[in-house]
């Protein structure tokens, strides 16, 4: 993944590593990210060496079961990991709108710099539109907050921007909706308000953390179309997190499959869906019923995702993997290796390269 890109961009002095180097065309590159939660029971390694990058105006899908560290990865990018979690290692190189490259992992989570990026350059939409909106503030006041902070100080202008945003996300009757409260809106409408809020400052990276999981298929279809449309209009990149493989197939250009805090396979969406290499990806794809193709039985993945506390040095999937090799898979962590062009996999079936563990 670390192919040498031309270092044509300036490197900002704030929080940037001197060796910061973004692969050509990428707007964000996550390298060996580790976010750990320090708990009484031990250290929970929610994200343990995740690497991926998002190209300009591209959509990358992050998939995996619950507990694989997808959401914590998103939180790490924005530096909003809840306590007792902390990003302990890795780089999050981000090229801002002015071309400066910043390592977000080095920034103070409460500092000025990250606050200038959060909401303005990178914004996020969460899964639950019910709990992410404040029930005691009107739609207008919640929308205006970010706009007044990042775009303009003029209230009239901010109001117009907010109204325009609501219209763009397809909310009928926006003037009236501005004065309403979240409980007066349906689930789909609430998610639209969340998207309007996230996009009101024209971010260049939009993180969507399971934005349609709680919604009906018909509303999901509307939201997906909306994201695709706005992506072109606003020229933004999208990091789309979900466990719905159908949505991923439709919306993303590239896919990264996460398991136990690591990316176990990544590549262009077609190669991932047509020739998956990692046993986990293969089984994940097989376990979903596909509409229009009736099967009498679904294949399953035995067991569940283990809790990542004090795990031995081994491939995290080896206990659930029918192809696990005794003495190989359970003694070392495989390294992420490029098998085909841009198609990486972390599995001893494909390469015997090991991850160096210090």
């Amino acid at each position: 993944m670390e192919s040498m890109g031309k270092n044509s961009t300036q490197i900002s002095t704030t929080g940037a590593d001197q060796s910061a180097n973004l692969t050509n065309g990428a707007i964000i590159e996550v390298k060996d990210l580790r976010t750990y939660f320090y708990m009484d029971e031990g250290t929970l390694k929610a994200v343990d060496g995740a690497s991926f990058s998002v190209g300009q105006q591209k959509t990358i899908g992050l998939i995996g079961e619950s507990g694989c560290g997808k959401s914590v990865t998103a939180q790490s990018i924005l530096r909003i990991v809840p306590k007792p979690g902390r990003t302990v290692a890795g780089q999050i190189l981000f090229r801002g709108r002015n071309g400066e490259v910043t390592d977000l992992a080095q920034l103070d989570p409460f500092g000025e710099e990250i606050r200038r990026i959060r909401g303005k350059e990178i914004s996020i939409v969460f899964q639950e539109p019910m709990t992410s909106l404040s029930p005691v503030h009107s739609v207008a006041s919640q929308l205006l907050e970010a706009i007044l902070l990042h775009r303009t100080e003029d209230k009239k202008e901010a109001y117009d921007i907010a109204l325009d945003m609501l219209t763009r996300v397809g909310i009928p009757n926006p003037t009236q909706r501005m004065n309403e409260y979240p409980h007066q809106l349906s689930g789909g409408m609430r998610q639209r308000v969340m998207i309007a809020m996230a996009l009101s400052c024209n971010p260049i990276l939009f993180i969507a953390d399971e934005p349609t999981t709680a919604l009906d298929v018909t509303v999901q279809a509307q939201i997906l179309e909306l994201i695709k449309e706005l992506q072109v209009q606003l020229q933004m990149s999208v990091l789309y997190i979900t466990h719905d493989l159908g949505v991923i197939a439709e919306i993303s250009d590239e896919v990264s499959v996460m398991y136990l805090g690591r990316v176990v396979e990544s590549g262009p969406v077609r190669s991932i869906f047509h020739h998956p290499l990692h046993p986990y990806t293969i089984r994940l794809l097989d376990s979903i019923p596909k509409i229009g193709q009736k099967k009498s039985r679904l294949s399953t993945i035995e067991g569940t995702v283990p809790i990542p506390i004090d795990l031995p040095v081994e491939c995290g999937f080896c206990y659930r993997c029918p192809e696990a090799m005794e003495g190989i898979c359970n003694v070392a962590i495989p390294a992420l290796v490029e098998m085909e062009k841009n198609h990486f996999v972390r599995c001893f079936l494909h390469s015997d390269k090991k991850e160096v563990v210090e």
Binding site: G188, T218, Q220, A221, E225, G246, S287, I291, Q293
Partner: protein, 340 residues
Amino acid sequence: MSDQNETKILLKVKGLKKYFPVEKGFLRRVVGHIKAVDGVNLEIKEGETLGLVGESGAGKTTLGRCVVRAIEPTEGSIEFRLGDDRVVDLAKLDKKSLREVRRHANMIFQDPFSSLDPRWTVLDIVGEPLKNTKKVSIRELEERVKALMEVVGLEVKHLKRYPHAFSGGQRQRIGVARALATNPKLIIADEPVSALDVSIQAQILNLLKDLQDEFQLTFLFIAHDLSVVEHISTRVAVMYVGKIVELAKTDDLFANPKHPYTEALLSAVPKPDPDIVTERIVLKGEIPNPANPPSGCYFHPRCPYQKDVCKEAEPSWEEVTPKHFAACHFARELSLRGVG
């Protein structure tokens, strides 16, 4: 109802209605009704799985609960065939005889976290329906619960554990064991897999299929995920604002939908194949408020094929092709796109 065919009708719902009153003001005046279920007719044959799909707010759950009278229906009859071929109307039973009959029909719920009492052990949860329907000794109860745990793939040594010690998939297995406890004929599964991860979802779906073969169960399977419904159902009913708008054999319904709403639903499902570029019918707006539904055909404000007649007259329920029913004025004329 006395035909000797091998596929007997287990459940026959006729004109089922459930109106929830909308009250207003201090005196709680009734100002209107939410027509959650509005005149539903359904038949479920023995041993089949009837899938019930529709958007949230369509009345799927209310219908499912009315069938076992967990909610009192406003109107209609629910004929249910008991083991000795006796047919009873559940809607008319008094409390005592309802209790007697209820062990033949059980429910599985959506959320495996909130549907199990955190202060009860597996033994209490799975054993409760047994204790309620007949007298059993503690020994017998334990034996039966252990047997059920084995059937659903739980470890017997976890008999005295509390729900918090189990994962989501295991909890759903406890829910399934509870539903099986009284040897029911009918199980109403209300979104049993939608709260689960994809890989766990496959485990539970396979379990339900195995159990159906083993115990000759009949399922009313409520879900909003069409690919899951296609996988598990023999026949599928599509519900929209309290009414069934289409009903057919699964393959037939998915390949040749006759109602524009079904077509739109099918096209909205994202296909897990990046090469399939679907021309999606994006429905405008949302499901109407069942307290104040539109005139004529309830679907007309969102329907891409609507004509004047749709605004005025309610379409009738017709058999469009053999065993394929739909309620649409143009069901015979439209050629709609399916999947597969």
